[in-house]
């Protein structure tokens, strides 16, 4: 328990700072791949800073749920950030919530975000909430199967334990079960973070949008909290994927040298995963909404195969 606060503080600051940067990097990479110049990587910081200093318009029809939602979305995402191993295997709050708590805390944020969308009384919010809850419901079983495959291999649902086991067998990701689970989780990652081909983060067209529709009525600091929270959630899920499947460089303790090395490795891994996402986003068109369940079904089957292959090999 000693040193819990500094550890938690350090990890929290890292998460809060890296999350917008990652969103910026993905935007820039995507623009370059589409032969555009695009915004520079620090644009997300400027957006958030600017939003925090702007005024807010709250819909007349809304209740306190609308105002409480941004806080809940942000706080749950930040708390989850303390539960997963970032640059060391020893996550500050790992003892107090394993992978199930992570998934369900993110679900708590989503629950309120959907309520906030419906609270405005506009159809856009309703469309977004309905689609978000639907897609997450279909994504959840696939996600759990992939997570269970890893948890069963590590003998624990505790993320620090999972990371320690992963570090001790770094090359295990070549095992068929791990590769299948990674493929399953990658599809879920795309769906959960609202990226193409499931949702288009760059559009405000009512026929295609999901996340943007829910937050249409938010402005000023509330919007900043939601956008920041969404980028933290994206970083959390990506970190979860890279550190459970490719645990190279994770420091086993909180020494300065280990941390520095861990940080370098972490950035490299995250950049590779981000490039992979950018590649998928650029080479795929958005799927029709009712095609998304098929994609997620593929993910579910991959997860089931991963599980069966744990059993076989």
């Amino acid at each position: 328990m000693t040193g819990l606060l500094p550890k938690a503080g350090l990890q929290l600051v890292l998460f809060l700072l890296v999350a917008p940067l990652l969103s910026g990097i993905i935007k820039t990479l995507k623009a370059r791949l589409q032969t555009r110049r695009g915004p520079d990587v620090f644009q997300s910081y400027r957006d958030i800073f600017k939003l925090f200093r702007k005024g807010m318009v709250i819909p007349e029809t809304s209740s306190w749920i609308f105002s409480a939602t941004p806080y809940i979305v942000f706080v749950t995402a930040a708390l989850v950030g303390l539960m997963i191993p970032l640059i060391t295997t020893d996550a500050p709050l790992s003892l107090f919530g394993g992978v199930l708590a992570v998934v369900y805390l993110l679900a708590l944020g989503r629950f309120f975000l959907a309520l906030g969308g419906l609270d405005t009384g506009s159809s856009f919010g309703g469309i977004g909430s309905s689609r978000e809850m639907t897609i997450s419901a279909i994504a959840e079983p696939a996600m759990m199967l992939a997570i269970f495959t890893v948890a069963l291999a590590a003998n624990s649902t505790n993320l620090s334990e999972m990371a320690k086991v992963a570090v001790s067998q770094s090359w295990k990701f070549l095992a068929p079960s791990q590769m299948l689970a990674f493929a399953a989780l990658f599809i879920v990652l795309i769906a959960e973070t609202g990226r193409l081909p499931v949702d288009n983060p760059a559009t405000h067209l009512e026929l295609t949008m999901i996340h943007e529709a829910m937050v249409l009525e938010y402005s000023g600091p509330y919007l900043a909290l939601i956008e920041w929270g969404a980028s933290i959630k994206q970083l959390v899920l990506m970190t979860l994927v890279v550190n459970t499947f490719f645990p190279f460089g994770l420091s086993l303790d909180w020494t300065a040298r280990g941390l520095a090395l861990g940080l370098v490795f972490y950035f490299v891994k995250i950049l590779v995963l981000a490039s992979l996402i950018v590649l998928v986003e650029t080479t795929n068109a958005k799927l029709r909404l009712f095609r998304v369940p098929e994609l997620l079904m593929v993910s579910f089957i991959l997860g089931a195969l991963a599980l069966i292959s744990t059993f076989l090999f």
Binding site: V57, G98, L118, A137, L145, F148, A151, L152
Partner: protein, 681 residues
């Protein structure tokens, strides 16, 4: 430990319920007095029952009484052990909240309905449940069971002038008797083996039964208890009967009456039947998964608030069965420690579901009380006139969706952990089944969250959709206290689960010989660990504290940022049209449309759209929209069954000639046959 007055408090609680039943009936001419007697006596009985259960749980050792009746096989035997104590505790918590709630709720019955008769049935229901949970004699158990069913029938048909109520009541009473028939046969098998109807005698007798009879007994009991608990495919009475009853009764029906089925399974499978067949646990598990997934899928399609809640009862009973099935599997496989964790998951979810489902039904009752409608499409915006009800309903909605840090999360977490443990504890292909069941649990969790976003948002948020929801008012204070106490219980059992866990020590020791409960607590009494080989740890208390700690700087950040501009209220974006109205809002039907399309193979949705045009087809004057989903089980299973019964009855009419001579001949022939059967060597 000195002996605590378990017996005295228990008898006082029975006496309070009995006296309440008689006194309510006697004062039926004075509605106000009947109301006070009904609620007051129920409150007294529930408090006494609660004390008895707390004493019983603290005492640990079972307390038994038996009064011989003079009738063969029948005795007034009671046994107050850990399992009885736990279910009585659940009953007492709900009964206390519901009786406080009823002080206000029954007021509108005054002068319109017979409160005396209502009170009589209400007390009878509570009395019979107390007897069911403590009976140690098969016949006493069955009498309690049957009286409970009849009292519930009376309450379901309380609005008997409505056709819907009468039909639901008829369906309920038919299913209740199918269920009691199965139990009677099951007990007959056991009594035949042991020669006694005492539960204590079954243990050794069941072990000596042939495996065929053991399986038959298991299946009969399982069928009977499944019907009571509303497990799919025996569920059809539940979404019909629970919504039509008065709301305080719906809360009890979904909260505790169906849990009698769970109690029966736990009592018979883990206690009385020494060993169940090895496939039994898997059967319970699979039935649980199917029931839970289908239950939540049907719930999503409902826009009647109370029917939606009723379908969620089916889902949650399924989740309880998953835990119970895992416990049975582990016990047969020789892992009593894991079985104990799975049993705790099932029992804790029983208590949690009882609390939040009762809370949600009471919330729905307040909405119905003040708006007069259960149809969500006519509600909306109730969070402004009814802030407290809305807040309580929100707590219930978060809890039932299994979201941290409330109680539903904890029991689902424990269920996940037992399922993961099942992968290591079993062999062969069955081990794959456990993580798959886990992924289905994830699916139902997410679908339940979607459903409660719909239920809460369409009912309480945005703009009112009808005149009734515009002019409604907050519920009376006693109703709010009833709901508030249950909302508090959701918080306390969620954040303070580690304080509550020792309750399971005696329960697991009694049923599985493993004292599990306190040893799952670690980390300064804050952390709950699964105690299983594939387990993990969680702490809802730290999650709760963490959320609050992180909230403080966030609020500061926003208030510093927003300092420069006042926050303005403005209209919602209306796409340039002249203002939004309730017609622009998303509806419950629209919200569930994507899921209706994705699962169309199950729902077989049918829809009809008729538009009336004036000039151009782009500007319809009127649109009539009709949509319905196919009630698969009613149509494919029960309709053919009903036809078969009717066909058989028509054939039987041939011997019902109506002639007294024929009937006398039947009686004579039956008598001769019985005598022959009786004197058979």
């Amino acid at each position: 430990m000195s002996t605590l007055p378990v017996g005295a408090t228990f008898v006082l609680s029975l006496a309070a319920y009995s006296a309440g039943a008689c006194a309510s009936l006697a004062s039926w001419r004075k509605p106000a007095m009947a109301r006070y007697i009904c609620c007051g006596a129920a409150l007294a009985g529930a408090v006494m029952g609660g004390l008895a259960s707390v004493f019983g749980i603290l005492q640990g050792a079972p307390v038994r009484w038996s009064v011989p009746s003079g009738i063969p096989l029948f005795a007034y035997s009671f046994s107050y052990d850990a399992l009885a104590g736990f279910f009585n505790l659940t009953l007492a918590i709900l009964a206390i909240a519901v009786s406080i709630y009823s002080f206000g709720y029954l007021k509108e019955f005054e002068g319109r309905r017979n409160i005396g008769f209502f009170g009589f049935l209400f007390h009878l229901l509570l009395l019979s449940l107390t007897i069911v949970f403590t009976a140690a004699n098969a016949f006493l158990f069955l009498i309690g069971w049957e009286v409970g069913s009849l009292a519930a029938y009376g309450l379901v048909t309380f609005y008997h002038e409505q056709r819907e109520s009468r039909q639901a009541g008829l369906l309920y009473v038919i299913m209740a008797h199918a269920d009691v028939g199965c139990l009677l046969l099951g007990f007959a098998l056991l009594i035949q083996g042991s020669g006694s109807a005492e539960f204590a005698s079954f243990h050794t007798a069941a072990a000596q039964l042939s495996s065929g009879r053991q399986s038959a007994a298991f299946l009969l009991f399982f069928l009977g208890f499944c019907i009571k608990a509303g497990v799919i495919p025996f569920h059809i009475w539940l979404p019909a009967a629970h919504p039509v009853a008065p709301s305080n009764i719906s809360a009890l029906l979904s909260g505790i009456v169906i849990k009698a089925g769970i109690y029966g399974m736990t009592r018979i499978f883990l206690d009385s039947l020494g060993g169940v067949p090895s496939w039994a646990g898997l059967l319970v598990l699979i039935v649980g998964v199917v029931s839970a997934v289908l239950g939540v899928l049907y719930a999503l399609m409902e826009h009647d608030l109370k029917r939606l809640l009723a379908y969620h009862s089916i889902e949650n009973i399924g989740i309880i069965l998953i835990g119970l099935g895992a416990a049975l599997v582990f016990r047969v496989a020789g892992h009593p420690q894991l079985a104990a964790v799975a049993l705790i998951a099932a029992m804790f979810h029983t208590l949690n579901h009882a609390i939040f489902k009762c809370l949600l039904f009471l919330g729905a009752g307040s909405v119905l009380h003040s708006t007069g409608t259960r149809n969500m499409e006519k509600l909306g915006g109730l969070i402004r006139p009814m802030p407290v009800t809305a807040f309580c309903f929100l707590i219930g909605a978060v809890a039932i969706s299994g979201l941290p840090p409330l109680n539903g999360f904890v029991s689902e977490w424990l269920t996940y952990q037992s399922l993961l443990a099942g992968f290591g504890a079993t062999g062969g292909l069955t081990r794959i089944l456990f993580p798959l069941a886990g992924s289905m649990l994830a699916l139902m969790g997410a679908l339940a969250a979607a459903c409660f976003v719909k239920a809460f948002a369409i009912t309480f948020l945005a703009l009112p959709r009808s005149a009734e929801s515009r002019t409604c008012h907050e519920a009376p204070r006693s109703m709010l206290v009833g709901m508030g106490s249950l909302a508090m219980a959701c918080l306390v059992l969620g954040l303070g689960v580690t304080w509550f866990l020792p309750v399971f020590n005696a329960l697991t020791e009694q049923l599985l010989g493993q004292r599990v409960g306190t040893n799952l607590i670690s980390g300064h009494g804050l952390v709950l660990s699964a105690g299983t080989p594939h387990g993990g740890t969680v702490s809802t208390a730290v999650i709760g504290i963490g959320l609050v700690i992180l909230l403080i700087p966030t609020v500061l950040l926003v208030s510093i940022g927003a300092r420069r501009f006042a926050r303005r209220r403005g209209p919602t974006w209306d796409c340039g049209l002249p203002g939004l109205s309730e017609d622009n809002e998303y509806t419950a039907t629209a919200f569930s449309k994507p899921l209706r399309m994705i699962f169309s193979a199950l729902y077989q949705p049918r829809r009809e759209i008729q538009a009336v045009f004036d000039v151009s087809p782009y500007f319809p004057k009127e649109i009539r929209f009709e949509s319905e989903i196919e009630p698969t089980f009613e149509k494919r299973l029960y309709l053919p069954l009903k036809d078969l019964v009717l066909w058989f009855s028509i054939r039987m009419r041939a011997i019902q000639a109506g002639s007294i001579h024929a009937y006398l001949a039947y009686i004579f022939v039956t008598l001769v046959l019985l005598l022959l059967f009786g004197v058979r060597p």
